[in-house]
Symmetry: C2
Subunit: 239 residues, 2 copies
DNA sequence: TCTATGTGGAGAACTTATCTCCGCTTTATA
DNA sequence: TATAAAGCGGAGATAAGTTCTCCACATAGA
């Protein structure tokens, strides 16, 4: 359901003037604040997306903005530090899916986990689907998904599990679509993307004799109106 | 493919002080400018969404901002004037779809045309999917879609054309999903939503023996990267 | 105790919206 | 053609929001 990535970022400071490799540990209270900032950023970026301000992140972490900027030279730097491991996890997922013997199961494994990651983390979704954020290092990582993803698709098509007209690039769009679906409903029913994932997946088979069992109930009209009310409304107050 | 709604908005000015019904025509040049503003707003809202500024609309229309504000008291008023007829068109579409004898064809007719409208008009999509814009009158109009839409779904389910687990509220989410898909690709290949609509629709049948023929080719990897590059990037310059 | 290290958060600097105001221009009419 | 009423453009007032800096004060740790 949810995924956990242990982020282990350097808590040491490079001494710029001295000869190579010399590092110095942060003071204990400083180190704790740094971790609080990272946890806060992780949580708020995941919930509200990358437009979350560093003021909000600082406040949510219980520290001042200055403390954030002392540890991360800019917002961009914080984003990069935070998401590198998450993007790497996507690369790993693609390669790992290729090892599953049954090609349909491999395809589903990849797609389901990819969407699960992106649905539970709005910041990650924005990072993956756009080129606005993320420097060269993240871009290079993103490019590493292409080859295994193509092979996952070709393999499943070759075996007759996946409809012939499907292309690897469709994965990106389907990911975006289900991200939207989840963003729309998740405040009321977390994980609603699985409902629509079932529909889409049933549409990707060459043929089928029945419907897959659907995950999650549908929203009522009242709930839907509530979802509309909060759709894309700017995030108000992080506790 | 594309749809046309003739917008016929009052080009007269109410004389506030005088006894009821007295109206006065705009000067010819003023009338022309007013229409230019409406056309410009229609075009830019459709292409870039409701966050388009009135400065941009004015510039694109070849008039000053002052001229826009002289005719429409606020941005909200312009949006309301512009979209009332479009929302009414959705209500009409729902009722008209119920008149189609075959309930599956009625369902597809409704969904396809609804998504077509919303895909070709980002502003309309934002208006329909959120409650941020649009006053009471538009809200009341939107509510009129609910009853016929529910009947469209129930009818198709009753006849065994549509899978049992589908609900009327799913229409809203599917609309949002395909809107996203189109937003993602439309700069490169307009109408790409039809490709993903085929996948989704094939997933909504209780069962099927083959795949529907797919509309539109997939994007190449290069095109997809280009799409990522422009995804959600702020609109730059309206010619 | 003492100092290098760290802190908070006001506010500088910048951006981006909406909407107003006023000197000048144009239309319509007598 | 002369005149007044209507209309025009767009600079800029106003407000909100965001990134990032700075410095008087606090604290860990030798």
């Amino acid at each position: 359901m949810s995924y956990i990535v242990v982020v282990e970022l350097s808590s040491t400071v490079e001494e710029p003037g001295e000869e190579g490799g010399s590092v110095r540990h942060l003071r204990r209270d400083a180190e704790m604040n740094r971790e609080r900032v990272l946890a806060s950023a992780r949580e708020l970026f995941a919930q509200y997306g990358l437009q979350t301000t560093l003021d909000e992140i600082a406040h949510h972490a219980g520290v001042g903005v200055g403390t954030v900027y002392r540890r991360f030279s800019s917002k961009e730097a914080l984003v990069e530090a935070l998401f590198e491991q998450r993007v790497q996890a996507i690369v790993d997922l693609a390669n790992e899916s290729l090892l599953i013997a049954n090609s349909w199961e491999g395809f589903v494994h990849f797609l389901e986990n990819l969407i699960s990651m992106e649905a539970s983390d709005r910041g990650l979704r924005e990072l993956v689907l756009s080129n606005d954020y993320g420097g060269e290092r993240l871009q290079a990582l993103k490019d590493q998904v292409e080859a295994p993803a193509s092979e996952i698709v070709e393999r499943a098509k070759r075996d007759g599990y996946l409809r012939e007209d499907f292309a690897a690039t469709d994965i990106v769009v389907i990911t975006a679509m289900l991200g939207t679906a989840d963003e729309y409903c998740s405040q009321l029913v977390p994980g609603m993307w699985r409902r629509y994932f079932t529909y889409v997946l049933d549409g990707l088979r060459p043929s089928r004799t029945s419907s897959s069992e659907i995950a999650y109930r549908s929203l009522s009209m009242e709930e839907m109106k509530c979802a509309m009310g909060s759709w894309r409304r700017r995030f108000q107050r992080a506790t």
